[in-house]
């Protein structure tokens, strides 16, 4: 109580200075921290101020609308809804005019009278004269020039669905590749690379649950069903304190809650996949369900071929969500995801892998100013392989138990706090080998399971310092514990990789002993402070400059030395030999809205350094390796670049042009002057380096009946290593390679178009169908997925072979809603 009294005294003392004295601002900030820890529930400006709070939903289905701004024209201020559609604004008592304007919805204009705390929920009505499906303009539209948010891209499900794609199947991950600073290893490769980072450095969250593998069929499709998704947000930099655990980016994907007004369905029939999503009320306006399924059936065509009839290759996934609004202050959500890929060659070989996720969330309003969310998440990635010929079954995976308690504290119209706690327990199974039959010569073997506990506390403050300057500063404190039960090898000089100076290569050291740690005994722990800062300075009503800094710590490592992840890759925790990756990134940006926001321009530049990026010694065998520490060295990584994005947000024709010029490099120097290091210890181009990356995408709504969309992408080829010669060893013609990634594949480009036909008979009918005709890679560019070198078996001559995956691919699909 003492603290409270002191605090209030200070408040009174500084109150007159608040408006025009920066120094007092700083002290004020400190008092706020004190306030936070001692009297979180005390209303700070209680004397004359009141809180206006509520939710904004879509009137047609009660879906919460994320990131919708409530504009106060008299104050020239806008406040946005959070990811659960909630807003809270504390203002001096009085009458205020408010405007809620979001693309696709009728604008709401009214005057609120704030004489006491006011709770008011808004249901936005879809515009009647819309030609096409609503594209919610609150996200993905104008450039953000008020909030201290940068290096963030938002896409709605509707935008994703409009982008032409391979075989007409809308794809979440592929649509990200049209954004500045995002690339991948080419067609049919999984994952994505943000600002020159590895695919393992992206944190992918589906309704807050971590997804460990984002691809189906080795990268042909992503695991997210676009019908079940509301929208997504990709943080490439300036990452807020609430997120942690990956070095490069955070991709937040929000699933729909399900329509709590009426029963509806959405579906599609395509050449390769079909999908159906059903949603509806369980208790009208209060409880809803959503269930969406998707499956590929291309393997059925294999049955037609007598030689391939015993083989199969397919995937399926299932999204589910239950939402229950207990009352105005409490909401419950249960989300689930289950996806699997299955390959089989007769009975000899079968392979299954995929993610499963279940998440229970409780939204609770402690007060009109304090919004909380408690999440209990279980996430699992499984990989299984059955090889009859060798007589064994293999399984590996990762299980993650995650508790998040997040508080959004709307202190005043100037300050918003976001604080919370995150506790995660990991159970890694690097591999279990079992005999597949009693006659198999294989011994059952469990590669030592690994356990870890990852805790974090965070506090982020979003503050409007002046009417032009707003900042978001915060700190995340992460604590990582690698836990037993485990047997840890020990090595001479604590060095699991030795350098052989005679032949100048790195070799695995032989353990000189081992330490057995009991269950839950701490083997190694790491603590890190991760400061975060983002600032926005509004130059005038239409433009702003931005700056940000973030430090991110990544405690999990994906053990993979291929250019893009494979389903077999194993995650492992940092330990006494493998240190966590630490990334520092600074970015500067400029954002401008042109013609009242019809167009927007965003330019950003960034510089990033990552410490302890793993690199693998030559010839490292990673599969079923029980002592990964013997084949890796801790290296470093750096990336920098400039990104441009010009968008047209309004009108029948909209879309964007994005261009990135960037560099991404890696280096693993020798640990002593005697050692050569990897690649002679020199900086080398990382596999994620794309010098130029230009993407143009646009949609044109011509009439009620027809709309068109098109993409064009051109980017530098993938870095690769070509041979500098050949030699013969035991009859094997072996290419001789030089330094890593010194060459590049040819430039990668393609143009895609699509046309959507909405028949007239849809008018006034509940069942609405549409036909989508698309052509991927219109001019049949044979983009190189790889160039490999081989000896021609007929001529005996060496040759270079370009492999390309997709030529021109026309597709037709039928989508429906009811």
């Amino acid at each position: 109580m003492n603290a409270n009294i002191i605090y209030i005294k200070k408040k009174i003392y500084f109150a007159p200075l608040l408006k025009n004295n920066n120094k007092s601002m700083f002290i004020n900030k400190c008092t706020l921290f004190v306030a936070l820890f001692f009297c979180t529930s005390i209303s700070i400006f209680a004397q004359q101020k009141h809180t206006f709070s509520g939710t904004i939903t879509d009137q047609s289905n009660n879906e919460k609308l994320i990131g919708i701004g409530i504009y106060f024209p008299d104050l020239k201020k806008a406040f946005n809804t959070n990811e659960y559609g909630f807003f809270s604004i504390t203002l001096p008592s009085g009458d205020y005019k408010i405007i809620i304007s979001a693309g696709g919805y009728e604008t709401v204009e009214e005057t609120i009278s704030l004489a006491s705390n006011l709770r008011k929920d808004f249901s936005l009505v879809t515009k009647q004269n819309q030609l096409k499906e609503v594209v919610v303009g609150g996200r993905g539209g104008r450039a953000e020039i008020r909030k201290p948010e940068m290096s963030v891209n938002k896409l709605t499900s509707a935008t994703i669905k409009k982008i032409p794609s391979v075989l007409g199947e809308p794809d979440v991950i592929k649509s990200l590749l049209l954004l500045p600073g995002v690339t991948n290893a080419g067609e049919a490769s999984s994952g994505f690379n943000v600002r020159g980072g590895g695919a393992d450095q992206n944190l992918i969250l589906l309704d807050e649950a971590t997804i460990y593998n984002s691809s189906h069929l080795f990268g042909f499709f992503s695991v997210f069903n676009p019908d079940a998704i509301k929208d997504l947000k990709l943080y490439k930099g300036g990452i807020p304190a609430q997120y942690g655990g990956r070095a490069a980016s955070v991709l937040e994907i929000y699933q729909k809650e399900g329509n709590s007004k009426d029963f509806h369905g959405t579906g599609g029939i395509g050449l390769l996949t079909s999908k159906l999503m059903l949603e509806g009320p369980i208790v009208k306006d209060r409880a809803s369900f959503l269930v969406g399924g998707r499956a590929s059936y291309a393997h059925l065509f294999l049955k037609l071929d007598p030689e391939l009839k015993d083989n199969s290759a397919y995937f399926y996934d299932l999204n589910t969500k239950l939402s229950y609004k207990l009352n105005q202050n409490n909401n419950l959500y249960l989300s689930g995801y289950f996806g699997r890929d299955v390959f089989a060659f007769g009975t000899r070989f079968s392979n299954t892998y995929g993610n499963s996720v279940i998440n229970t969330r409780w939204n609770h309003l402690f007060s009109e100013k304090l919004f909380t969310n408690l999440s209990l998440i279980f996430s699992d990635y499984y990989y299984g392989l059955k090889l009859d010929a060798v007589g064994f079954n293999w399984s590996s995976g990762i299980k993650n138990y995650n508790i998040k308690y997040d508080f959004k504290h709307y202190l005043s119209d100037k300050i918003k706090l976001n604080y919370g706690i995150n506790v995660q327990y990991y159970d890694f199974n690097p591999g279990l080998i079992e005999p597949s039959s009693p006659t198999s010569g294989i011994n059952t073997k469990q590669i030592d399971k690994k356990y870890a506990l990852d805790n974090a506390f965070y506090l982020g403050v979003e503050q409007n310092i002046t009417s032009s300057l707003s900042v978001n500063y915060g700190l995340r404190y992460s604590m990582f514990y690698r836990l037993g039960q485990s047997t840890i090898n020990t090595y001479e000089n604590n060095n699991p990789v030795i350098y052989n100076p005679i032949v100048q290569i790195y070799e695995s050291a032989k353990p000189n002993g081992s330490i057995i740690y009991d269950k839950n005994k701490v083997i190694q722990n790491y603590n890190n402070f991760e400061p975060r800062l983002a600032a926005n300075y509004r130059l005038d009503e239409i433009q702003s400059v931005k700056a940000s800094y973030n430090r991110m710590t990544q405690y999990l490592q994906l053990i993979s030395n291929s250019n893009s992840p494979t389903p077999l890759d194993v995650w492992m925790p940092s330990d006494n030999y493998i240190k966590p990756q630490i990334a520092d990134q600074v970015a500067l940006g400029y954002a401008r809205n042109i013609k009242g926001g019809d167009y927007s321009l965003e330019v950003e530049t960034y510089y990033k350094e990552v410490q302890n990026r793993l690199d693998y010694i030559d010839g490292a065998n990673l599969i079923a390796n029980e002592a990964i520490e013997q084949v890796v060295l801790n290296g470093q990584m750096r990336a920098y670049g400039i990104e441009f994005m010009l968008k047209k947000n309004e009108g029948d024709l909209n879309g964007w042009i994005s261009y990135t010029i960037a560099k991404s490099q890696q280096k693993t120097p020798g640990r002593t002057p005697e050692e050569l290091g990897i690649n002679n210890g020199e900086w080398y181009t990382s596999a994620y380096d794309k010098t130029h990356n230009l993407a143009i995408t646009g949609t044109y709504d011509m009439s009620k009946k027809w709309s068109f969309a098109s993409n064009f992408i051109i980017q530098s080829g993938q870095p690769v290593t070509y041979p500098q010669g050949q030699y013969d060893y035991l009859g094997m013609i072996t290419p001789s390679y030089g330094l890593r990634n010194a060459n590049r594949l040819p430039a990668f480009h393609h143009l895609d178009i699509s046309a959507t036909l909405t028949p007239k008979k849809n008018d006034g009918r509940r069942f609405k169908g549409e036909w989508v005709f698309s052509i991927y890679n219109v001019y049949n560019r044979k983009n190189a997925m790889s160039i490999s070198f081989r000896e021609n078996p007929d001529t005996g001559m060496n040759e270079a072979v370009k492999m390309s995956v997709f030529g021109i691919i026309p597709a037709i699909s039928y989508n429906f809603k009811f």
Binding site: A313, L387, A389, A800
Partner: protein, 286 residues
């Protein structure tokens, strides 16, 4: 484990079938030639192992189809345990050249040998122990999988059985010497230590009735990782998104004169057991 890996690659290749391949010309830089040493001394059980050869060549431009031999070199192998030196003389009857032979070699399991090569004013050396191997127990036709259709061809699968010693870390190379197009199977005993284990190997229809020599070769762990790299490099998987960064395959050949002008290849000594069978490739079961 190597087999898992191979299967994954097979799987990836299957998926790749939907893509298309095209032979193109890529302009490549050529490095200065390096010495390549092929010194794989094998001692077949039941023989004296006195006849051995070593082949010397150099690296060359990637697109030529001739491998330049190294002639006029001085080659010798010394048993470090006994001090005995075996000279390898150039085989001048060989038309291509670069072959050095010795007919008085004495292999001893577990002894350490040093290879010395003098050529072009430079001296190269390499040291390795002779590795033993257990005998092949039996080679049997895998009746369940006889005459199966794999990759569009009728194949018959054989299983090569051997019993791994429990108290040692053993590495095997199973190679069908007469099936020259294929490199065989490499495996260590991680998953079957101390057990009788079998390595599957299948034959195509056109190999029906041929006599095949199965060799089980004991190799050292460092040679295992070397040959692993060579096989993946020679397999031509470079450049795909799933490919690992191509490595320079550094063997155990050291240039004592100029360290940076290192030699490629490997000096290794292995015991091997050879069993011969006549292959029967059955038609697929009706």
């Amino acid at each position: 484990m190597k087999t898992v890996y191979i299967s994954i690659i097979a799987l990836l290749s299957l998926i790749s079938l939907c893509g298309c391949e095209e032979v193109i010309y890529v302009d490549l830089d050529t490095e200065t030639p390096r010495l390549v040493v092929e010194a794989f001394l094998k001692w077949q059980k039941g023989t004296t192992g006195s006849n051995q050869f070593i082949r010397l060549s150099t690296t060359t431009d990637y697109y030529t189809n001739t491998i330049p031999p190294v002639k006029g070199a001085k080659v010798s192998v010394k048993n470090q345990n006994t001090g005995e030196v075996f000279e390898f003389a150039e085989d001048l009857t060989n038309k291509i050249g670069g072959i050095y032979i010795c007919i008085t070699f004495k292999p001893v399991i577990g002894n350490e040998y040093t290879l010395t090569i003098e050529t072009n004013g430079q001296t190269y050396t390499a040291t390795e122990k002779m590795i033993s191997v257990v005998p092949i127990d039996k080679i049997v036709l895998d009746t369940e999988n006889a005459g199966i259709n794999m990759g569009g061809e009728d194949r018959s699968r054989y299983k090569v059985f051997f019993t791994d010693p429990a108290d040692t870390k053993d590495v095997y190379w199973m190679k069908v010497l007469t099936d020259t197009d294929r490199n065989g199977v490499l495996t260590d005993d991680t998953f079957f230590n101390g057990n009788q284990f079998s390595i599957p190997y299948s034959f195509k229809k056109d190999q029906n009735g041929l006599s095949m020599d199965f060799a089980l070769i004991g190799i050292s762990p460092s040679y295992f990782s070397y040959i692993n790299i060579i096989m993946s490099l020679a397999g031509g998987r470079g450049g795909s998104p799933f490919a690992t960064p191509p490595a320079t395959a550094r063997g155990n050949i050291v240039n004592q004169t100029d360290k940076n002008n290192y030699g490629l290849g490997y000096f290794s000594l292995s015991e091997m057991d050879v069993k011969t069978i006549t292959v029967v490739v059955q038609p697929p079961p009706k």
